[in-house]
């Protein structure tokens, strides 16, 4: 038998999550969980709705960076102009999750903890050096987003733990990011490949720092340092793009499925990494 509770403090939520017998599910936007409840894939005895915790739905600026509450709907993320200016790649990735209706509920914490290899916001958050604050029985810990997902449908969170908020760091000048997703149509589909690039340029337009992340080509989103290294130390030119393309393709360990073959996904990953890097580079050049 299923029960539901909506605690109004972090401490209460942790106490309930840690003490509950049986299978407990944390409810954020619910756009994945409700589908799993309906299909019988998830059969929790208790649902803990975290949305009544103050601050868990909302965005605030702090120390030049941003704090995004775990359950902030993607639609709210898309409406935050300051976030859009600083992290356009994170915003465009979050705004690719599902339809307008799904955007009204779907959250970054849900997208991360659902742990789909094809989750759109995850590569962009990793490229952005985002961290998340995890609350649990032993207190709070701040971890890099990439350490949360361990495989399809699996996370490193311990029983009783849940994500409270995401932190996006302050941006140096001439920094920006981008996310592109390849799907066979223009809307409402799951990534065949996703690519996120975040970079910082020096005053001469040379790439000083970069992070490149691929989605849907491995059991988890993958950070590809070799692809980032192809960009650093040069202006974006055909040589760096060709190296980026090659490094991205080498990092892929995709599966064959109805959305694409292994060979196809690898090829698209290279092309998408090039296009994403080009957009991020142009955006960074405009941010003095």
């Amino acid at each position: 038998m299923l029960d539901y509770t909506a605690p109004s403090t972090v401490e209460e939520a942790v106490r309930i999550l840690a003490g509950a017998p049986g299978t407990v599910k944390v409810l954020s936007g619910g756009t994945d969980l409700l589908v799993q409840l309906r299909s019988g894939r998830a059969k929790p005895s208790l649902i803990v709705d975290i949305k009544n915790i103050p601050g868990i739905c909302g965005i605030r600026e702090r120390d030049g960076g941003f704090v995004i509450g775990a359950s902030t709907p993607a639609a709210v993320i898309g409406e935050c102009d300051a976030l859009q200016r600083a992290w356009p790649g994170v915003v465009e990735a979050a705004n690719l999750i599902g339809s307008t209706q799904v955007q009204g509920r779907a959250s970054l914490a849900g997208n991360l903890c659902n742990a789909s290899p094809a989750a759109d916001s995850v590569p962009a958050l990793i490229a952005a050096h985002a961290t998340c604050v995890v609350a649990g029985p032993k207190g709070r810990r701040e971890v890099p987003v990439e350490s949360v997902i361990t495989g399809p449908g699996r996370t490193s969170l311990s029983p009783g733990e849940f994500i409270l908020e995401f932190h996006l760091p302050k941006r140096p000048p001439r920094s920006s990011d981008a996310y592109l997703r390849f799907i066979p149509r223009t809307e409402m589909d799951i990534a065949v490949v996703g690519a996120a690039v975040s970079l910082t340029l020096d005053a001469g337009g040379v790439c000083a720092d970069a992070r490149v992340v691929l989605g849907a080509v491995a059991p988890t989103a993958i950070l590809v340092p070799e692809a980032a290294a192809a960009l650093v130390g040069r202006k974006l030119d055909e040589t760096s793009l060709a190296r980026l393309d090659q490094a991205a393709r080498r990092a892929c360990k995709p599966i064959d499925d109805k959305r694409g073959t292994i060979e196809y996904r690898i090829k698209v990953a290279g092309v998408l990494a090039r296009r994403t890097a080009t957009i991020a580079y142009e955006r960074a050049g405009e941010r003095q």
């Binding site: 299923l2 539901y4 409700l34 709907p73 339809s99």
Partner: protein
């Protein structure tokens, strides 16, 4: 199983109901409150036939538990017309023949109203992307988009 007591405002009416925790908002709207305008198409958030707004934000009522409605304002298709006066979107859907079987129509109207409340002059592209989560198997969408853009023009002129 304990039932939860939920207090909401639905289309302006303070509404209370008791529900089991696994029921969706759509289940309660249709089966408890007799508000059967919101339709159950896919029950997985893909078709948009169950679209409602919660505190002004467009959502699929099949992807929300009824208990989550506690303290929130819900708008459904039932609140769209003022008595016998149809909303301009409803009139334009009729004028443009933007429906055939009508199953997707309540969801499309609620979604289109949410768009125009936010953006009184959407481009055709904006309207098409906004409504991408509302599936229609009859019209081919073209008449729907024309009706929405025409309604937007009329609302701007008022």
């Amino acid at each position: 199983m304990s039932k939860h007591h939920v207090s909401t405002i639905i289309s302006g009416e303070p509404t209370e109901f008791l529900c089991e925790p696994q029921l969706t908002l759509l289940d309660v709207l249709r089966d408890e409150l007799n508000l059967t305008g919101s339709k159950e198409g896919c029950s997985s958030g893909d078709c948009g036939a169950c679209s409602v707004t919660v505190d002004g934000r467009l959502v699929c009522s099949c992807l929300m538990l009824a208990v989550e409605a506690e303290g929130h304002k819900i708008e459904t298709i039932e609140g769209m017309a003022r008595g016998n006066d149809l909303h301009p979107l409803q009139r334009k859907f009729l004028e443009h023949a933007a429906l055939q079987c009508g199953f997707c129509t309540p969801g499309l109207l609620v979604a289109a109203k949410a768009l125009l409340d936010r953006n009184p002059s959407p481009t055709e592209t904006e309207a098409r992307y906004w409504l991408a989560g509302n599936l229609c198997r009859c019209t081919g969408y073209d008449k729907v988009i024309r009706a929405v853009l025409d309604a937007a023009a009329e609302l701007r002129a008022e």
